[in-house]
Symmetry: C2
Subunit: 361 residues, 2 copies
Amino acid sequence: MRIGILGGGQLARMLALGGHPLGATFVILDPVHDACASAVARHITGDYTDQEKLKQFAGMIDIVTYEFENVPAEAVEYLATKLPVYPPVHALAMSRDRLYEKSLFRDLGIPTPKFFNVTSLDELRQAAKEVGLPAVLKSRTLGYDGKGQAVIRSMDELENAWSSRLAGVDCILEAFVNFKREISVVAVRSRAGEIIFYPVGENVHSEGILRHSVCSLNDPMQKLAEDYITRLLNNFDYVGVMALELFDTGGELMANEIAPRVHNTGHWTIEGAQTSQFENHIRAIMGLPLGGTSPIGHCAMINFIGTIPPPAPVLEIKGAHYHNYGKAPVPGRKLGHVTVCGENQKEVKAGMKKVLALIAG
Amino acid sequence: MRIGILGGGQLARMLALGGHPLGATFVILDPVHDACASAVARHITGDYTDQEKLKQFAGMIDIVTYEFENVPAEAVEYLATKLPVYPPVHALAMSRDRLYEKSLFRDLGIPTPKFFNVTSLDELRQAAKEVGLPAVLKSRTLGYDGKGQAVIRSMDELENAWSSRLAGVDCILEAFVNFKREISVVAVRSRAGEIIFYPVGENVHSEGILRHSVCSLNDPMQKLAEDYITRLLNNFDYVGVMALELFDTGGELMANEIAPRVHNTGHWTIEGAQTSQFENHIRAIMGLPLGGTSPIGHCAMINFIGTIPPPAPVLEIKGAHYHNYGKAPVPGRKLGHVTVCGENQKEVKAGMKKVLALIAG
């Protein structure tokens, strides 16, 4: 089966690496000429809205998937008239807009922080009174890795936050959640409606970017997280991998956001689970039986952001697996990750500590 | 690091799939325009002896490896004048010639079936008397997957076997071994001389082609197999993965042949070991620390030869991982394999049985 991927970054690269053994072939559409997935897939270099390129792309593939939710809607809608698109277009549309996303959480009975739609400074002032401060002003669309977000701690900061928002993008104001920890659950739904789950990850962000994620075996919140993501998956008649990020406020989970795709907090599954999230996404969209999600021992994933250490010192760490995405270094850019596997949590923590020391230089 | 691979078949393909995460990039040289590794590597389409293509290839890479031992000697020798070649050229030269290979086994004190060099029908008759019948006439070079071999059961068959040998290729006559089982050990040696081993595999061949291999945990012959391959690895100051095939005659091992490369009997390591033979070969030749070889549970590998079943029924089998090499079906050709993983040997055997039933149709 010929699979097209919108976007040719590291997620597309790992999808192709995971999917080739299944006999799939891959074509990526990405405007960047050296998109890192092009090392393992055919590459159409073109803008997502270039009709000619989209037509060429559509002619080379049997099904379409995507590696990021901010892919232009018109590109996906055009492709959907020609080919099956997985995950479904309506899940993508929803995840692209925080207002719709949070409204859906509410409709499905999934707790989420209080939020208001704001289209003017006046509405922002009103919302701040309703939600209380601190609160977070978030662009409804185009935000990722902390971009398009501003924490507002006092009424004085409202005006500044409003004028600094992404130009021309609507916003929501969202209550600031005092969480104990951030977790995420990654699940896969097959075309036949079967749903399977990976163990939740415990995530640490900094400057809005995921730094590391520890696979949490027998987590007390596992079942609740599975319940919430199941509601979302079934709501969309979803096909493929979905991730749901949640705040754990201590006995309660509040949904933060969903990603209708393979997710950074599921990268540990390459070495740490019976079947990786990447292979399972490809299995799902190809209409194949899903693979086991059971963890193989304990593990954690640490991102390389902005700079990447050379492989040798990383691989000297017991149980370490190195992933270099082949991207040029840019501050704040995800360039690779390392998975540390071990027989117990202590071994994994010791390995993580060494990796973090390497990153700190 | 830019790695060149001589040959673009499934071994090159799996080397590239295993090596991309390490940040390596891959160029294959292969005369076949649709060589299956070209899906995951740059491809120079050209003959191994084409000086222009070899020069172009050498200019695109930092180090060279190979996926088969029958690569023309002059190609490797030319490349070795320009770039590091791993595994070392003298290991390749030895493995290419059964006479040298078996003489080395003898020199290193590794038991091997009795053998004689034969260059004429008269010498063959003499050798048959010395070795006894049944015996196997094997071409010294160019043999693989049972090609270039003939079992001789009576003196009447000598003439026919001699006239049917590969034209212009010298032969050896080798004693036929009544083995209890065939096993193989796959080992990796780093540039620094560190050697690590995978658990031995128990192999079943038919018509000279490997059909399946079962990873044998705590095998009574493990240590002896490790001892023998260590002698070979150190003899060559070897770098990379080597496989040694052995006959187990019941308490004694006799070396059959070595492969100076990743090996079909090590394919189970992709899902079944902490680090695959492919990643470890790339780690070794890049000069990186090697990865753990411990098995993850029990597993077995079954080849798809001549035809390949569709993925769905294979993946319905618990613990099954499907590998389609993307090659056109030809009788006797290795088109893919399946790894069956399980918590115990019984589970693996049950899965294997289902796969074998699927293959039988």
